[in-house]
């Protein structure tokens, strides 16, 4: 007689949305959402949208290096930035401008980084946060280490790490997710599913219905949120952080959004993406969705909108000026920050560079 093992394979990944694409809202909104928060969020999302457009313009005019637009990510990243406590640690990938700025990274610093200057990662206002991570998914392992350190130290802090949909295909993501579950780490993993890993669409990335269900394999909660709905992302990140603070372990959040722009300024997404798909995504993206909701609720007016856009432009102009006026780093800085103390073995090379670049020669 065949014996059986009792297994229950059923699992449920909740999908959460409050602000609907047609500008209406499911009521009530979560308790964590206040009118003031919505206004602040919208203002920041608009600022970052305007900043992003300026950054692309700077690249097109040869004043910035290759730049990854964050258009489409404003809702998710603003929600993460506003939900986090300053003492938490943020571990970004490379399209998290909206969160970085809320963490205290100046727009001029973001420009310095993409302008090819290492000083852009010397964050003055959030000294614990990690710099951009360009290799895919490696940052999830760093976040696991940081969350482990927080747990070892007994601090009531948490770590938030982000990555794209493509990053979930890498071992680094799965290794970190697995450990986070096994060790009950105070970690919030946010997969920003913008549908495209350069030219590879989400469906070609993974056959699972959701990316959040990868959490099931690690024995942790997974949730899908509408990444174009600020309120859903904010509430879920907030809840995940509370879980982490209470020692209840990690959460995986998949935020479904859309990369409205090219992968970077070096990419041409029209080669692999249908125009209609992009046009549709623009109809439901986060910045306009929140703006429309605020207008319906009479929390925001066309007049305030015009004023705010002027303010944003002025803010961005100041930051751009700061970036463009930054004197170049010392040539020898590449040696001076390589090790705490430059090994004797490299002193001759250091001298060679110093002498060849000395201004008074």
């Amino acid at each position: 007689m065949q014996s059986t093992i009792q297994c229950n394979y059923a699992f449920n990944i909740p999908g959460i949305r409050y602000l609907l694409p047609d500008n209406s809202a499911q009521s009530p909104l979560p308790e964590t959402i206040s009118d003031e928060l919505l206004i602040r969020a919208y203002q920041h999302m608009r600022l970052i949208r305007i900043f992003d457009q300026k950054a692309i313009a700077l690249q097109r005019t040869g004043q910035l290096g290759t730049y990854p637009s964050c258009q489409g990510h404003e809702g998710v990243n603003t929600a993460i930035g506003l939900a986090m406590h300053p003492d938490d640690v943020f571990v970004p990938y490379y399209r998290d401008q909206a969160t970085l700025n809320l963490r205290g990274v100046k727009l001029s610093e973001i420009l310095r980084y993409w302008g090819g200057d290492e000083r852009g990662s010397n964050y003055k206002n959030c000294p614990q946060d990690l710099p951009n991570c360009v290799p895919i998914a490696t940052q999830f392992c760093h976040a696991a280490g940081i969350a482990s350190a927080q747990k070892i130290k007994g601090n009531k802090q948490a770590t938030v790490v982000t990555g794209g949909d493509g990053s979930t295909s890498k071992g680094d993501f799965l290794e970190a997710l697995n450990l986070a579950g096994a060790w009950h780490l105070p970690l919030v993993l946010v997969v920003i599913n913008n549908q495209w890993a350069i030219s590879t669409p989400r469906k070609a990335q993974c056959n699972a219905t959701t990316l959040a269900q990868k959490a099931i394999g690690a024995g942790i909660p997974g949730v899908v949120v509408d990444g174009d709905d600020f309120t859903a992302v904010y509430d879920q990140v907030h809840k995940a952080l509370q879980r982490a603070y209470l020692g209840k372990g990690p959460t995986l959040i998949e935020a479904i959004t859309y990369r409205l722009g090219d992968h970077t300024t070096a990419d041409d997404a029209t080669r692999y993406r249908a125009r209609e798909e992009v046009e549709n995504a623009w109809k439901t993206e986060s910045v306009t969705r929140l703006l429309n909701y605020l207008k319906i609720r009479e929390l925001w007016s066309e007049e305030r909108e015009q004023q705010w856009r002027v303010t944003c432009k002025e803010t961005v102009d100041v930051e751009v000026k700061d970036y463009l006026n930054t004197p170049p780093d010392k040539p020898t800085a590449m040696f001076e920050h390589l090790y705490e103390t430059l090994p004797r073995a490299y002193l001759a090379q250091y001298e060679e560079l110093a002498v060849s670049t000395r201004e008074d020669l």
Binding site: V89, V91, C141, G145, E175, A345
Partner: protein, 335 residues
């Protein structure tokens, strides 16, 4: 084996016991030091390098990780930027390749990338090298892979005392260190080690014996064969200066150049494959800085540029005392 960190004892220990002593000493002295890796806690490591540490320092500081090398290295990066000093074990160097993206793309450049805001004071330990009849992937000597990477250090001890002193120095070092342990000599000999927390300097070669006629440069397990060759050559009146490189990157070129200036001859001994090995870097250094002192071409005694054979034939691959003696005589006969 008992790791005793609380008293400054002097006793003969093996190389692997010296590693354990250094870990225990530093964990006691500095509460930010943590140990992580596969099988390091409950089992004390497959070579017993971390034995008893869990008992002494608890689960929060001695952590058995899932079997995931990339994660171990990446976690060490994350822990180190948080002010901990992780000493992570990769069970065999043959499994270290999964860590290379983390080491090269993150650990090595965190300080530079953030202009000093964050840095990675981590140690990645791994047993390496052949000669213990291990399975495939367990015997290679691929230290040159890491030696090419700016921003890290690659340290290789060759005796219990140097293992103790160099590991202490590596843990105390504010930058990432790849600490490779020559497992063939883990238990080859006992040496008296004073467990007093005295570190040895990094970035410097150790001249193990002085001699007038030829400079022998080596590191790791091959120091044994090199010293044996020097002893046999001494019986024939050939005085060898023997240099243990110890920190293969950054390389202490000065000590080697000065020695060759004196002897005019040099043989480099390593068990790694020859092409693009660390021996090539030393030979190039001598060509650049000691050409007029050299009275014969620099010779290398190394493993072959082949896949490391499985253990039935590994003795054919590994340099031997006889091969070193032959190379020395050919070098001296040149002039």
């Amino acid at each position: 084996m008992n790791a005793i960190a609380s008293t400054h004892i002097t006793r003969p220990v093996t190389l692997v016991e010296a590693i354990n002593l250094a870990l225990a000493h530093e964990m006691q002295a500095d509460e930010t030091v943590v140990v992580l890796g596969e099988d390091v806690a409950l089992n004390g490591g497959v070579f017993r390098a971390t034995v008893d540490l869990r008992k002494q320092f608890g689960l929060k500081r001695v952590m058995d990780t899932p079997l995931a090398e990339t994660l171990i290295a990446g976690m060490a990066v994350g822990m180190s930027v948080q002010g901990l000093k992780p000493v992570a074990e990769i069970q065999f160097m043959g499994f270290i390749y999964a860590t290379m993206e983390q080491v090269i793309s993150h650990a090595a450049r965190m300080r530079n990338r953030t202009r000093g805001r964050l840095h990675c004071p981590l140690v990645l330990r791994a047993p390496f090298g052949g000669g213990i009849h291990a399975p495939e992937h367990h015997s290679e000597s691929t230290e040159a892979l890491f030696a090419h990477i700016p921003g890290i250090r690659v340290v290789i001890p060759s005796s219990p005392a140097r293992a103790y002193g160099l590991l202490l120095a590596s843990i105390r070092n504010p930058d990432p260190v790849i600490f490779l342990e020559p497992k063939r000599i883990y238990r080859a000999a006992n040496q008296t080690v004073e467990n007093a927390g005295q570190a040895l300097p990094l970035d410097t070669c150790f001249t193990l014996q002085e001699g007038q006629h030829i400079t022998l440069v080596s590191w790791g397990a091959m120091i044994q064969e090199t010293l044996e060759a020097a002893q046999q050559l001494a019986e024939e009146g050939i005085e060898c200066e023997v240099i243990d490189v110890a920190t293969i990157s950054p390389l202490d070129r000065e000590t080697i150049i000065c020695s060759v200036a004196k002897t005019g001859h040099c043989v480099i001994v390593h068990e790694a494959a020859r092409e693009c090995g660390v021996g090539a870097e030393i030979a190039a250094t001598l060509a650049e800085h000691a050409l007029t002192d050299l009275r014969a071409p620099v010779k290398r005694v190394t493993g072959y540029d082949t896949i490391m054979p499985y253990f039935k034939q590994e003795s054919l691959y590994l340099p031997t005392t006889e091969k070193i003696i032959k190379a020395v005589k050919e070098t001296l006969d040149y002039d």
